[in-house]
Symmetry: C3
Subunit: 344 residues, 3 copies
């Protein structure tokens, strides 16, 4: 994939300027860009460092002086994202068109004509897969599961029975949608498994990271709303409801029956106790442990998580505990000396 800068400008409908019209052979971050690369400058530091880059051209805001050929965009980062897509390998290189002859599709499954199935895919009885969806090698779609249109399921992703995926859902390698919730009750001979007969429903444009697990509901639905993105190795327990347009970072765990609003942002390795409600727009700092409901718009940190600035202040003061103990000891000594009549 090689484009002249003028071609990129034409495809994206952006103006360009420059002493010449270089061939752009690749795209790279500002610090890594070499000859032939296009890069972007989205902040003052990079805008002032344009004469130091080896890149062939740059995406920059209008008016930023550039010694290099330049594509003009009000939001260089967003423009760069569009250009990245032009340099991605074609989808059919990774998800070839058609159904590989080794794919096992139950005769009662209903697949749109153009669904792409990689080697050794398994599609169970009663499953439905919408137009334009592509399944990589070893993907498993179990009985009666439903996938929308233009979904991408990477190698060995699995969707268990009766779960439902909206349009344009992406599952990364090894993701598990619909595993049993972790539900038992104590019996005479040990823990008794509570059958998990609910399902998982993922809204449109949900993305699920590699080896992330989403448990089916005990009864009813475990739900992830439209546009929400889950990173790798995330755990979503049974009967959780995550709202729309949330971003949940790697290795976070959400316990049973939690309810997250829309636009919630959660850092990595966060944990939540069960049955909590987080309002719209809540932001959770990495590694926090949430033990109570959080009102909309609040930012939180710590374990138990509290308001963000207070949480950071507490931690900073924790680091001053050695000083605190010393100061207290001095105070005690001073009082003791007075008590003994030795003060001053």
């Amino acid at each position: 994939m090689v484009y002249r800068l003028s071609e990129l400008a034409a495809r994206l409908g952006m103006p360009w300027e420059g002493p010449d019209d270089p061939e752009i052979r690749g795209v790279a971050g500002f610090e890594d860009a070499g000859p032939g690369d296009l890069t972007f400058a989205a902040d003052r530091r990079r805008e002032n460092g344009l004469d130091g880059t080896l890149a062939a051209a740059v995406v920059a805001r209008p008016g930023v002086p550039s010694p290099l050929p330049v594509l003009r965009a009000d939001d260089p980062r967003a423009a760069f994202t569009q250009i990245l897509a032009l340099y991605a390998p074609p989808l059919a290189r990774v998800f070839p068109d058609g159904r590989h002859p080794t794919a096992v599709v139950d005769p009662t499954a209903r697949l749109a004509a153009d669904v792409a199935l990689g080697p050794y895919c398994v599609v169970g009885p009663g499953a439905v897969i919408g137009a334009g969806s592509r399944l990589g090698p070893h993907v498993v779609v179990e009985a009666d599961a439903v996938l929308g249109e233009r979904c991408l399921l990477h190698a060995a992703a699995q969707v268990r029975e009766r779960c439902i995926l909206g349009d344009e859902v992406i599952l990364h390698g090894g993701a598990v949608v619909g595993s049993d919730g972790f539900g038992y009750h104590p019996g005479r001979a040990g823990l008794v498994k509570i059958p998990q007969i609910g399902i998982v429903v993922l809204g449109a444009r949900v993305e699920v990271g590699a080896n992330t697990c989403i448990d089916r509901a005990t009864t009813g639905v475990t739900r992830v709303g439209e546009g929400t993105k889950l990173d790798n190795l995330v755990q979503i327990a049974h009967n959780v409801s995550v709202g729309r347009h949330c971003a949940i970072s790697a290795q976070t765990g959400i316990s049973g029956s939690c309810r997250l609003g829309d636009g919630v942002t959660v850092g990595g390795q966060v944990g939540m106790a069960d049955h909590l409600a987080l309002g719209d727009g809540v932001k959770v700092a990495a590694k926090s442990g949430i033990t109570r409901d959080v009102p909309a718009g609040q930012s939180i940190f710590g374990y138990p998580a509290i308001e963000f600035r207070k949480g950071f202040r507490v931690v900073a003061l924790t680091h001053r505990l050695p000083e605190l103990f010393q100061r207290l000891a001095r105070v005690e000594a001073a009082l003791g000396r007075r008590r003994e009549g030795k003060d001053d």
Copy 2:
């Protein structure tokens, strides 16, 4: 699956009462139940709210007044669990009977006649699988592994060579039993891998969550006792021994050679240093980090984990550090004023 309430009562051997005998089309939690659903009331709040539910019928304790048709059970939750099983899809819808023609079974493996194998299962040389066990698509049972009777292995679960599973073990999707322990020793040219030649033994009725990993022992056995349940994304390191009837929540990690007693309960995202011993009945709060042995029956919290109530008190006081610094500063100021003769 539709049953009349009277049929459910007959199947479970429970009394029922009601103005009519409704058809029960589904089962649902108290808050989610709609028309046609059976639900249950296991606490005072729900018992008092029976006139607010849309459910067709309810499971409740004897004597609880009910405007709805009611199934009577001393333990409504346990009764509901039994009923859930009646509404689960039949096992053969998810794990069809028989051996799929694409399953690859080594001629030296020994499988009971009724073992069910999904598409693309692989069973290695010398492996043994007991009667009534069912393997989903893409399950791998490697050389010389042994599975008991009535095991359920979901899609892409894997059991590595020579590992042993008792009867009625459940492995969820992507679970790995028998990966190498993380053992190296420093050599001249870097870390030298210590061969991990031990095995994993899972007792009867162990359940292993999706994408959970259990490492084989360096020598000897990594053991998980009868009836113990592991949630998703749990890490069990080499030479660990977990007792019977334990419950270990998602994303917890147990380091090498730890020994857990029976009936241990561990919250999510807990970590344990290596070579620790936890006695019977220990309870560990979520996100704790355990750095020393824990006597039987103790509940612990924090990092390093300490006795539960003390740990929570410490955390609560941590949140009062800003106040503490202010109070100390006032004390210092008061003493300073005195020292300078300005007090009072």
Copy 3:
């Protein structure tokens, strides 16, 4: 696998002594060793306990008095590691020679003649696999990926398109190399996916644990250096660079664009904020959360992580907060009494 002690001595080039030359049927840790086993004594306590073991023979340092037949080694642990390899099952029992007829290899892939492919392996177009590499069942190597020589990929490990593995890399079951990085930017209709078109490069002798995930770079390379070992369920985000000979324990997460030097040791469940630099030889205690750069050679602990001894001192003092509040209250009371003229 049974060897006489004298045979082991000859194979390893070590001296042996003993009243007899026993058959060694297995190898075991000091506490677990039974009759017929070889064990090792690498510390004073075990050296003094040799008359208490049931083992048939022991590896011990020269000069340590032994009532048992003994193999002499300056480093008994290292010698024992070599012996473990002799008792491991032959590689071909787990990774049979040859290409299983069900392996799907694209005609444009280039594989060395002796590459071993398990059942249902999938090797995509343009992929390259070096001599002596062995792939277990269900391994996926996607388009244009490159594997070096003598790599071992366990069941269901996957390498996504264009990623590169050096020689003697080991991937454990379910490991994902090359999943998309977690990159989005806010758009009018929600989060917009930033195409992740970079790759992953793993150096020689890298080992990747079960269900560990390594994300491809947005542009450029996510890199793990030669000889580095990653435990199970680790998350390596896009554009991270891990140096050589590092050891990263289970469930640790490294956020985007972090740079780790050589010989870095990281405990389990550690998290790192993005864009951090850790110098050579840094040691990170388990469960730490790293929020700033760390100079070479430093040991750190806590969240935010600080110098190790200071971090442990802070935690110890945290546990004394109840005492601190009591002491402060006493001081305040004493001052109050004075202020009211009631002191002494």
